[in-house]
């Protein structure tokens, strides 16, 4: 736990490296003085990808399959966001009913499997065994041993979502499916019937998952304040204000529940959102431009979506949302750990929506391609990925090659919030205490609530000079290493 990195005088630095049971590689560092008081707590993203750079010069029709390799958990979200951008590039504004419904079904399958993974596989051990429980048991294998019924439901829920993905894209991970203006193959009756045969179980298990999370969150008073932040929220909503994952306007609510802006077309996102680069993380920090870097940060993901939507279009999930709202006395729910509860409400919405789509006659239609229109020099695709709002923006030249790409992934939007939550939990639980593994896991619990996908979040290449600063508490810089954009490293004061 003690980090090799030097700490200022009279302090010691503790690193959780890597943070476990999240996707990708991140670390948390704490700077602690002699009395165990927290001087500083940060969540760092230390892995590096570079997709925005190496997609440049590639043909636009390749993009959805190139960028889906950002992630092995939510590749479908990246494929669909990029596919929506590509639709715009080839001048298609409206897909055929079958293609739209196939993409929606695919996306519901993706949300279902990812949400199941993140609660059951990655997070449930914290809640079933306790944040400070024996770390050798605090994992999915431990859950399988002690709570086999819960663990197996989680595994089977995930499997069902993956079966949907496989039926539509040909593979459970990194398949194909989307093409400019539509889809590449119809959904067959045998595929539909095989999925319908199991949907009743999926619906029941999803309701059980909501009930479990509702019980966990309401039964533990200390969960309410655990890393809780009073933040703004951003998410997509449907045309009537309903919960929407695939296509709609974006809504931003302030901490007090007021609309920060009128719901806006996501193609105008650059007028609303800016991104800040900080020296100590590969992850950028987005914020609402009008509110500035200090006050403009916001949260995305299940908590934002359930807070932002006026209703849910499926009855069981809507009833669950009503209970969630009642818990918050009709106000926004800011509890960070309520992310899991909101996530399971969405899981239930996915199950209900999948059932509805499987019964829809259009879903097995064969009219898959819309006619291409006038080609456009850029395309913007926005979608609600499991972890939150996902932006893909591509510029292409006359030859069809990408000249510029901008991706704002969900975890990037939650970057500031994750840091704030880590800081809050550090101050709540660790300040003045002798640091133990059990206490450090509390910090990881806060990070896991956001369901971070670190691997897809660091995608810019060549834009981020890196600076490592060793600073005393009084602000005096002891040592600084700087890497400029050419890759040259400078040390000050000089090592020699």
């Amino acid at each position: 736990m003690e980090s090799d990195q030097p700490a200022p005088a009279n302090t010691r630095r503790i690193a959780i490296d890597p943070v476990t049971r999240v996707e990708g590689h991140g670390k948390i560092t704490l700077l602690i003085d002699d009395d165990n008081h927290i001087v500083e707590a940060r969540f760092h993203i230390v892995e590096f990808r570079g997709f925005e750079k190496f997609i440049q010069g590639r043909p636009f029709w390749e993009v959805p399959f190139f960028v889906q390799r950002l992630c092995g958990i939510c590749p479908v979200s990246h494929q669909l966001a990029a596919a929506k951008a590509v639709d715009q590039i080839v001048g298609v504004n409206q897909l055929t009913p079958t293609a739209t419904k196939l993409r929606r079904l695919l996306h519901f399958g993706q949300m279902l499997q990812s949400h199941a993974l993140h609660f059951f596989h990655l997070s449930s051990p914290d809640f079933l065994f306790g944040f400070g429980s024996d770390p050798t048991k605090r994992n999915i294998a431990g859950v399988l041993e002690q709570y086999p019924e819960i663990a197996l439901k989680g595994v089977k829920l995930r499997k069902y979502g993956q079966r949907i993905i496989e039926a539509i894209t040909g593979k459970r991970i990194h398949g194909t499916g989307t093409v400019p203006g539509g889809m590449n193959k119809p959904f067959t009756l045998p595929e539909r019937d095989a999925l319908l045969a199991d949907i009743d179980d999926i619906l029941q298990w999803s309701q059980d998952a909501v009930a479990l999370n509702e019980q966990i969150h309401t039964a533990h008073a200390d969960h309410r304040d655990f890393g809780t932040l009073h933040s703004h929220y951003l998410s997509m909503i449907g045309s009537n204000g309903e919960l929407e994952f695939y296509h709609g306007n974006l809504r931003a609510q302030s901490v007090s529940g007021d609309n920060l802006f009128a719901p806006f077309d996501y193609c105008d996102y650059q007028q609303i959102i800016s991104e800040e680069v900080r020296s100590w993380s590969y992850l950028k920090f987005p914020y609402f431009s009008a509110l500035g870097t200090e006050h403009g940060w916001y949260r995305v993901g299940p908590l934002a979506r359930i807070n932002n939507c006026a209703f849910i279009s499926t009855p069981l999930a809507e009833a669950a949302r009503q209970r969630f709202k009642a818990y918050g006395h009709g106000n926004l729910v800011h509890d960070t750990l309520a992310y899991h509860w909101a996530r399971m409400i969405e899981l239930l919405h996915c199950a209900e929506s999948i059932q509805s789509l499987l019964h829809d006659r259009d879903i097995t239609g064969t009219d898959l391609l819309a006619k291409k229109g006038e080609y456009q020099p850029q395309g913007i695709g926005v979608i609600e990925a499991p972890r939150g709002t996902l932006f893909h923006h591509y510029h292409v030249n006359d030859e069809g090659l990408v000249t510029r790409a901008n991706l704002i992934v969900s975890t990037t939007s939650n970057n500031q919030a994750m840091n704030e939550s880590v800081r809050t939990v550090a101050n709540q639980y660790l300040d003045g205490q002798e640091i133990t593994e059990a206490l450090l896991n509390h910090l990881e619990v806060a990070v896991r609530a956001y369901d971070p996908c670190l691997s897809c979040a660091t995608h810019a290449l060549g834009k981020m000079p890196l600076q490592v600063t060793l600073q005393r508490i009084d602000g005096h810089v002891v040592h600084q290493l700087t890497k400029n954009t050419e890759g040259t490293i400078q040390s000050s004061p000089d090592d020699h």
């Binding site: 043909p59 040909g170 590449n184 030859e399």
Partner: protein, 243 residues
């Protein structure tokens, strides 16, 4: 066990041949597969890829350019030769930028199918990561030199079948690269059309018809359904049917 006056013997199987036939043509016609990437029935052989190396006595010869001669005793499907073929395939991979996970040719790519056929599980050799020019100037055709394996099938197809002579190989050794025979060096200034054989014969993802990628679903692509052996024998049979 000697071959007759009008037969050769490959791995102890007696195979008939006609005068002027190569070992490759005789073998494929008899249903004996010799791995190959730059051979294509109906086009003159070039002996570029070296995957079809077979052994006759102490000599190694490329089956696609060696004439069948009465009484030849040929070793083809042996562990040693297949190991050498796998190494050659690995070299072809590392000399270009073959990123199968996102390549639109995946599932329809002969290089990828050959790797599967030979049991290639990794690249083995260090990657070259070459910087090669991509030419998207043609409205219908994309030329991605990163994936070119210098088989020169497009050169021969354009010169001998399409009669347009659009392509050539320039440079030597690791500097060898595919060029376009136009004053600008750009495909848009060539007479090439997307219906040309040269536009459709590339075994890898170097020459592609634009905006067609990923249209064939996983499970229905060529090598989802058939092996490269099946396709090699099929292409030879198709050519014979044309005759």
């Amino acid at each position: 066990m000697t071959a007759g006056n009008d037969t050769i013997r490959i791995d102890n199987q007696e195979i008939p041949f006609t005068a002027g036939q190569t070992i490759m043509d005789a073998a494929l016609a008899a249903g004996v597969y010799i791995p190959h990437l730059c051979h294509h029935p109906g086009l003159p052989p070039s002996g570029n890829c070296r995957l079809c190396m077979v052994e006759i006595g102490n000599r190694s010869v490329a089956a696609c350019i060696a004439a069948a001669t009465a009484g030849q005793q040929i070793r083809n499907d042996t562990p040693e030769l297949n190991a050498a073929r796998k190494a050659i395939t690995q070299m072809l991979f590392v000399e270009g930028n073959h990123i199968c996970p996102s390549c639109e040719k995946t599932g329809n790519c002969k290089l990828q199918a050959m790797a599967y056929h030979l049991g290639m599980l990794d690249d083995h050799f260090p990657q070259f990561y070459p910087h090669r020019e991509l030419d998207a100037s043609h409205p219908d055709i994309l030329l991605d030199r990163s994936r070119c394996i210098l088989c020169d099938l497009c050169v021969r197809a354009s010169r001998d079948v399409d009669k347009k002579n659009v392509f050539a190989i320039a440079g030597r050794g690791t500097q060898a690269h595919l060029i376009v025979n136009t004053p600008t060096g750009k495909l848009v200034d060539s007479p090439m059309a997307k219906t040309d054989l040269a536009a459709n014969i590339c075994p890898v993802g170097a020459i592609l018809i634009k905006e067609k990628g990923y249209e064939v679903p996983i499970g229905q692509r060529i090598y989802d359904r058939q092996t490269i052996r099946d396709i090699g024998l099929y292409e030879q049979a198709e050519e014979k049917n044309k005759e």
